[in-house]
């Protein structure tokens, strides 16, 4: 909650950005936007397309909401935010359909879908409506990129397992060996891939954070009392 009077430090500006990608990555950590994630990650190029369109709408919506955050009364905040999000996603759809027909063919299907994406309302309500404009925009970019990264990752895995191709380029050795299982294209497979990737993502990130913690604890040297930062893992009850 950064108030207007305080001067924006560099950390205030960049922390939402880096946070968005790793710590609260929308798909794996906050588990938001699962409906579009399962629906469109049947191919990696869909993922990138969807991710970028969400990124654009999220940044615009975050900016406008944080400009108006003091005017919108608390009682009617959700309909107001939804109006702003829906306006941007419809505008993007119209502009892309009129001026970029080939992009529209690839991505036209997802643009009406952005309105339904839980990430937008969740981020707008929990971040943009409380902070100032620049951190909100940075948060929008961070969360957007994090979302793009994770759904492209899921898209690659599903496309590879399900259709035996990588970004649309079929890998003949797999297809000829009759290996691709359409199960992974079906949403039931989508759940499975999403679950396992979430486990892998979280364990990798936790490992990185633990190695950072250990480095901090080592260079602190002596076991000074309560000096080290308590690691977020479960057994904090002095599990030496």
């Amino acid at each position: 909650m950064i108030e207007k009077t305080e001067k924006l430090t560099f950390k205030d500006i960049t922390s939402p950005f880096t946070n968005g990608i790793i710590n609260n990555n929308a798909t794996f950590r906050l588990v938001l936007g699962t409906c579009p994630t399962l629906a469109i990650t049947t191919s990696a190029s869909n993922g990138i397309g969807m991710g970028l369109s969400v990124l654009f709408v999220l940044v615009c919506a975050n900016a406008i909401v944080s400009i108006l955050r003091n005017i919108i009364p608390r009682k009617v905040r959700i309909p107001a935010y939804i109006l702003i999000i829906a306006t941007f996603s419809t505008i993007v759809e119209m502009v892309v359909r009129a001026f970029l027909p080939d992009l529209y063919d690839k991505l036209g299907l997802f643009l009406p879908l952005i309105v339904v994406n839980c990430i937008l309302l969740a981020r707008v309500e929990s971040f943009a409506s409380l902070n100032r404009v620049i951190p909100s925009i940075m948060d929008g970019i961070g969360i957007g990129l994090g979302f793009t990264f994770s759904i492209t990752l899921i898209g690659i895995v599903r496309e590879f397992l399900g259709a035996g191709s990588f970004f649309g380029i079929p890998i003949n050795s797999i297809i000829s060996a009759e290996l691709p299982m359409t199960f992974f294209i079906l949403p039931a497979g989508g759940f499975m891939v999403y679950g396992f990737l979430m486990v892998i993502f979280n364990s990798v990130v936790d490992k990185i954070q633990k190695s950072l913690e250990n480095r901090n604890r080592v260079n602190l040297g002596s076991r000074s009392v309560n000096a080290h930062i308590s690691t977020p893992e479960i057994d904090t009850q002095g599990g030496k």
Partner: protein, 225 residues
Amino acid sequence: MVDLLNEKKENLVEETNNFEPMKDNGSLKRHFKGKKINESLKIIIVLGLIAMVASIMLAVVNFYTKIDENQQILDEIGSLYSSEISTTVDVSSISNYLGTEIKAYYIADDGANIIVAKANKGDKVCYNATGITIIVIIKEGLIEKVVSFSHSETPGLGERALREEYLNQYEGINTDLIFIPEGDFISTPEFNYFNPSVITGATYSSNGVSLAVKAAVKAYRSRGN
């Protein structure tokens, strides 16, 4: 095109500036506190204003980006079918199944009926805003060609029902063999009629295509031939 987007951004920013009188945050707060505007009045004003600005922006953008669909269809048919289009049939008079729509109906010089039919079936509901649109060419009671015009099926799954190899099963079929049910149910079993093969894993889309073909044939029959 790029400048249009930038221009959109500028008037977006200046639109929001002149929309809310707030030059600096503090004065607005004092203004509201001072006047003690009744809370519910504020709710109505703010939501109404946001809706108005939103609808103005949408209408403006829509006006500039309106694409003439008929023109697109005509170009497609031009590239597809050699002979000239002689008459265009008034489409609104044709009654069709619910969930399907006849977008256009032309008759070429050599008597071929070219019908553009759209079915709102598809393998996704919430995201399937565009449905399946196909062009059916019928000449002297025989379906000459079925071509997909636009669709929003999942690539590699639903989209297989709109590929060339699947659609050419309709070529050469006599229109009388296509079963046209009258009642609400479209899926009543068809005994001695033409039964299109369905691609596994793309059942919804295959049904969508057969529904669109039925709608086209029904329109063809309603013209009395």
